[in-house]
Symmetry: C2
Subunit: 321 residues, 2 copies
């Protein structure tokens, strides 16, 4: 099948693409290369099953041209701002890069009669819920970041398009996805900081934030599993693990993986890493596991494997250019 | 207090404005006059407490100028597309007139340090919920119209702005609001159609759709009551009545009010009036009534009073020019 992957040069797509190509699918990847990098797509260039478009998805006529050229069977919509704190400074960043981009994708799907979309949402849509772990049917939804507000707006648009134009959607509310080829995230930040200064590590917040970290291979497996096994009009799943890891533990793992010792942890303080950060996240994973899927790695294992992968990649000079 | 009323020439604002002016408030009304009409603002022009700006709220620099000129104490944000079916034909209509406009309002509030917003959302955000009557904390939220998707996106934006920039919001999820000075709605449509052809009335759907109809004075009272009595950061209330009225009953009331008889009801068929119509709406009103508020009119009474008012207004040639 021909699959359009948005955010095609990003972290998750860089891990998804070889899986899709390996399964015999044709991949049309699109990315504006603002957060995504050429290093992520380089391994696939030249593969006859693979096409890359450098494109800003805010440009609706260009998106229309993309759909005219490669009418896909499925859209795997991963493009988004992935830096939550950024959206607090630039208040239209997630509105444009999330909500408006998703509208453009959906409108192009409608015009070109493309019926299926897989979407990466976020557990952040729950805001700071009273119920932990939080199930998919939790309400009310009061997001506390503009990133999360945009994810909820995208979900709402997808739902309305599905009901009005006979489309079908698989929406995944992610925990924190980690693994090789990151463009952002706590492990990536820690390695970068420690390469610069191996004696002192600045840690946002007080280090007690705890979240479920999901290894990217598990994330991709979970998305594919839900797509294969759920056939409602709008299928929504938390995609996470049952356990969680603290930011302090991530710091300790990173330090150990790099072979460092006596690193001073300099906490910026406060329970949140940044404005809009949800310090304690627990996502109820029962809906997807009852369908038969299970992640292979726990949160702690995902953090350890991620630290290994990132340290190796950064030391090898990965991602430069 | 100085209150900015968006959608200031619309149906609800035309009923709200005299109340605000009567209570001694200063009203800055803004409207692009696409759905709102000059007839709605004419009674207030010349009142020194009242200012009207014809303005498209999509124009952020103009909105900024508005806030610079009249920094309000409170924003009463009513501006929106009110024709749900329209959004199915023009898929960016609610995105622009709802979501982007609300972003512009919130961003201007942030820049000008305006801290409080009252927002007219809709029970449509619940989509087709499994629980009737539907309470405010119901989930999941899968809107089935682009109108409802936009209302949910606006709520999400408001929530994120409140948490990030220390604002406070009162969000009301309306039932169907009816009363004099309509710009749209089923009673208004029926009267218009019957004035044109008093022998035959086209009714969208099969007439069995049942919804709670709220008289506009009750709607305004409810909003004011919640604003005075609820002090959470984000205060969200269903604003409806406990009973409901069928579309067939509305047709019968309208016919009787106009003194007609032997009118043929021509149903277009299907359970929905239009794509994205939710045929059976029941909103749990307990949260607001437990605070001490009660609507004065039932749904049926609201429909009768509305028919009386509209027929009188239309016969008097109201709204022309």
């Amino acid at each position: 099948m021909r699959i359009l992957v948005t955010g095609g040069a990003g972290f998750i797509a860089s891990n998804l693409t070889p899986r899709l190509l390996g399964a015999g699918h044709e991949v049309v990847a699109v990315d504006n290369l603002q957060l995504g990098t050429r290093a992520h797509i380089r391994p696939f260039l030249g593969n006859p099953q693979y096409t890359f478009w450098k494109l800003d998805l805010l440009d609706l006529p260009k998106v229309d041209e993309l759909f005219t050229t490669h009418k896909p069977d499925l859209v795997w919509h991963l493009a988004a701002n992935s830096d939550i704190s950024f959206g607090t400074t630039y208040t239209d960043f997630d509105l444009k890069g999330g909500t408006l981009v998703t509208y453009n994708i959906l409108e192009s799907m409608r015009k070109h009669d493309v019926k299926r979309i897989v979407f990466s949402s976020s557990g952040a849509v729950y805001g700071e819920p009273l119920m932990l772990p939080t199930p998919e049917d939790y309400g009310p939804l009061w997001p506390i970041s503009l990133y999360a507000a945009s994810k909820l707006a995208c979900e709402a648009l997808i739902s309305a398009f599905c009901f009005n134009y006979d489309m079908q959607a698989w929406i995944y509310r992610f925990g924190n996805i980690v693994g090789p080829n990151p463009t952002h995230g706590v492990s990536f930040d820690f390695v970068k900081k420690l390469l610069k200064d191996p004696r002192r590590l600045e840690i946002l917040g007080d280090g007690t934030q705890t979240k479920p970290y999901v290894y990217v291979e598990d994330c991709i497996d979970g998305m594919a599993f839900g797509f294969q096994h759920a056939q409602d009009r709008v299928n929504c799943f938390n995609l996470a693990v049952e356990d969680w890891t603290s930011v302090r533990t991530i710091a300790e793992v990173t330090v150990a993986t790099m072979g460092l010792s006596n690193v001073e942890f300099a906490f910026t303080g406060g329970s949140r890493g940044w404005t809009g950060d949800v310090p304690k996240v627990r996502l109820d994973t029962g809906k997807l596991t009852r369908l038969g899927w299970k992640p292979r790695l726990t949160s702690d294992e995902a953090i350890v494997q991620t630290a290994d992968a990132i340290v190796a990649q950064m030391r090898a000079g990965w991602g430069k250019g």
